[in-house]
Symmetry: C2
Subunit: 493 residues, 2 copies
């Protein structure tokens, strides 16, 4: 969201960023041009580190499919609880709430997955703009009244593409139907919190539907085409914009790589350490390719680290991917990284860990632009083979180049689009003209079940009446015949 | 479509426009920068005039609702027959077809309502871009696999808004369900024609679904928000761009109007004459306002024409509407005119005649930006009252100004957007990444009916088995009890 905020500030708007005292990405001491307001939360950076580490480590343990699902669900609940604690701290912070109320902001710009921005926007009746990659339980589609047919729109975390076999469609449908059950614990606490401050019952869907425009980090070059709504704006690849020149240190490494070039390797900022056994296997595989590997890793260096691998604590990922000497990108498949891979046309080896990473990896692989590895089962040989494939087999480079060309061929840059819509909502105090009338219908009305029942009743009633009439006529006929026959009979007697 | 074609030509593309020898709007002798190829069709301009006049006149006859529907349906069929004749002439024209085949065009740019462009594009395997206001029978939504819930998406020609009462929803649903029947005669001839040249059976939906990108003349400021698809691009108001300075003649009339300003009055280029009785009533009403009225009318002037009314054979509608002295716009409610009214913020008096004009009028009225009159029932008083309302009641001007502000506040001009997407399809030979996987599913699969049936069967089977098991256990229990009881009984005997 940072580039959007910076551009808004450049356009002369006064931007205030509300940050919890403990945060993974928002360090209040970083230099910035916008005002940052910090509110205290009841846990420290250490706790966040512990939660995140145990969350990450759980994904490196081999376990049954059922256990994986339970682990994943528990992780999501745990993260949701962190969000809830943050939100509660903010809403109960009287000074901060008074400041927000009195400042009369024109717009709330928020990622709705945190749920707190939408609650504040609805509570203070400020128009809101959402900026998101997606929401669990398809809440983004439910809250926008966007059709979401389970027959070809894969549900999250299922590893399905948009072209599913019958059994995949059954699984997709089951997950869709079970959302009612397993999504309750994710959103119920926020509904209670909203009730507490607004003093009226609101569902999570109602809270979220307050959003005027949804800036979705989607691009159909990468995401599967599906029905959308007029208040959704697609800004996938917004993060891939701001390229800087490489620092001397990195420039030197890249230049020293010779004709073979480099491989960029990062499992994202959340993964600080991986089990040593895995690290050794990865190191062994990296030694089997002639490229120089830049590996962003903060854990203990594996003892078998080959000479062509440089461990770094941080790397300018997008700038390195943009370098013409970059041959491949090893990534965990987070949407940021994948979009950077696409916009710089670098074929990928994907090692998805959790969340939407499996789905992202599936999307890249289904388009022939990368190879996905199972991080639990992969051997040193698998990694080596995957790397050699994406570097030497031309089709990967061709496919990612094609995706990149399509992705970059757009009438307006996603950053300008995002800024336009934020300013649009500020200028016009929302965007009610983009709100579909479906919000005013209940489930039965939306699906026309009342109308169908009525038409069926009419058809059945008219059928019933015509059958009754026929029977009545037949009976009269028979009766008449009977009556006319009887006397004849009696006469004949 | 002309501005798009002109811009494409300016961008260095070679554009060839294929025109039938008889056409309402395309006069081959007009000066233009692009190549025009004319193919002969078996009817002359006189015949087209007769058909159109009898079509228009039918809407000035007072008749029952049922008769109005039948008349409208017959008119649509008649126009569809004209399209069919044109298309047949083109497809049977060997020289022209050979020319099209050999020219290896990059893209077919066409209004799909004519059906001929889509057939040629599919036949010659050329990517296509559609430019449209809409299609009868919701074919645009069917061919794009776009959800179209009848509970809040009003069907064409029904005069419904997106917020419907129960009875309106019943009507909407009935029309939706009857589409299968009454739409057949519209598309069947084209399906046969396609079969004739392709030598394989294709439905109209399949032909249309070949379109890569659909440029829809929609803007949700005016049209009701509804589900859309990623390959739909919204370019409503594209016609409202090119403003020129008024000619001396019109400038003089406008300047002479004084403080009261002018009213622009046009019922569209298709209406050349209206019944004298109606014309007289209109003339009487126009005399009751102090504004100068510029009336585009080619029929016989009514004898009671007041002094403030100037009859003209043609007027620069958009340029006049853009003039600050323009107070109101009397229009038949064609989408072109309505968008010009919106972008120039001129309140409207709408006299819809046929087609989507009633729906357009409903949309303008439901937004408080105009007054709709029933052209059959309106009296001179009604017209006068409507005109005075939209000119003197500030809320109409305020509402149209608000719509206009929203409409014009866009990140990119619709013309640039349209040109971008045409060029995109040319550069990438289509846009298959925007094609939803729903195209590969049949109706049962799309609605997951097979999955639901399977899940139901599983549930019923497990219920059946558990009931059977229970019964079996119960019976065994009873039987045992019975057997243990029996001997006791016999002993006691």
């Amino acid at each position: 969201m940072r580039p959007v905020v910076e551009k808004l500030q450049q356009n002369g708007h006064e931007v205030v960023v509300i940050v919890p005292s403990t945060s993974l990405h928002m360090k209040p001491k970083e230099p910035q041009n916008y005002t940052v307001k910090v509110y205290p939360i009841p846990y420290a950076e250490e706790h966040l580190g512990v939660v995140l580490n145990s969350f990450i480590n759980a994904h490196f343990v081999e376990q049954s499919v059922l256990n994986i699902i339970i682990t994943m669900y528990q992780s999501i609940l745990e993260i949701s609880r962190l969000f809830f604690t943050n939100c509660k701290s903010l809403l109960h912070n009287k000074d901060m709430m008074q400041y927000l109320r009195e400042s009369k902001f024109d717009v709330v710009f928020t990622d709705p997955v945190l749920m707190c921005g939408p609650i504040i926007a609805k509570y203070l009746s400020i128009p809101s703009i959402y900026f998101l990659r997606g929401m669990p339980c398809g809440m983004d589609f439910e809250a926008t009244q966007c059709p979401n047919p389970p027959s070809y729109v894969p549900r999250l975390f299922l590893n399905n593409s948009d072209s599913m076999t019958f059994s995949q469609r059954v699984k997709n449908m089951l997950v869709h139907m079970l959302e009612f059950i397993y999504c309750k614990p994710l959103f119920a606490p926020f509904e209670e919190l909203a009730y507490e401050i607004m003093q009226k019952k609101v569902t999570a869907t109602e809270i979220l539907s307050h959003g005027s425009v949804w800036l979705m980090r989607y691009d159909f070059v990468f995401d599967f085409p599906r029905p959308v709504m007029p208040n959704m704006v697609f800004i996938g690849g917004i993060n891939c914009d701001q390229k800087k020149k490489l620092s001397q240190e990195f420039e030197a490494i890249v230049n020293a790589s010779g004709e073979h070039g480099i491989i960029v390797f990062s499992l994202g900022s959340m993964v600080s350490e991986i089990p040593m056994k895995k690290a050794k296997e990865i190191a062994e595989a990296l030694g089997s390719v002639p490229q120089t590997v830049l590996w962003r890793y903060t854990g203990e260096a594996p003892p078998n680290l080959p000479k062509n691998v440089k461990l770094v604590k941080w790397l300018p990922q997008n700038d390195l991917l943009a370098h013409p000497k970059t041959r491949a990108f090893i990534t965990h498949g987070g949407s940021h990284g994948v979009y950077e891979g696409i916009c710089n046309a670098v074929p990928m080896v994907l090692m998805p860990l959790f969340g939407d990473q499996m789905d992202n990896a599936k999307r890249v692989e289904s388009r022939g632009a990368g190879v996905t590895l199972n991080i639990l089962e992969m051997t040193s040989k698998d990694i080596s083979a995957a790397l050699k494939a994406v570097i030497n087999d031309k089709k990967y480079k061709e496919n990612i180049k094609r995706l990149s060309d399509l992705h970059l061929d757009r009438p307006i840059h996603p950053l300008d689009l995002a800024v336009h819509w934020v300013e649009f909502v500020m200028r016009h105090k929302g965007a009610p003209h983009l709100r579909p009338a479906a919000h005013d219908l209940n489930w039965i009305q939306y699906h026309s079940l009342d109308v169908i029942a009525f038409l069926l009743a009419v058809v059945l009633l008219s059928l019933f009446i015509s059958v009754k009439c026929c029977l009545f006529c037949c009976r009269r006929c028979c009766f008449k015949k009977g009556r006319t026959r009887k006397p004849t009979k009696s006469k004949s007697h």
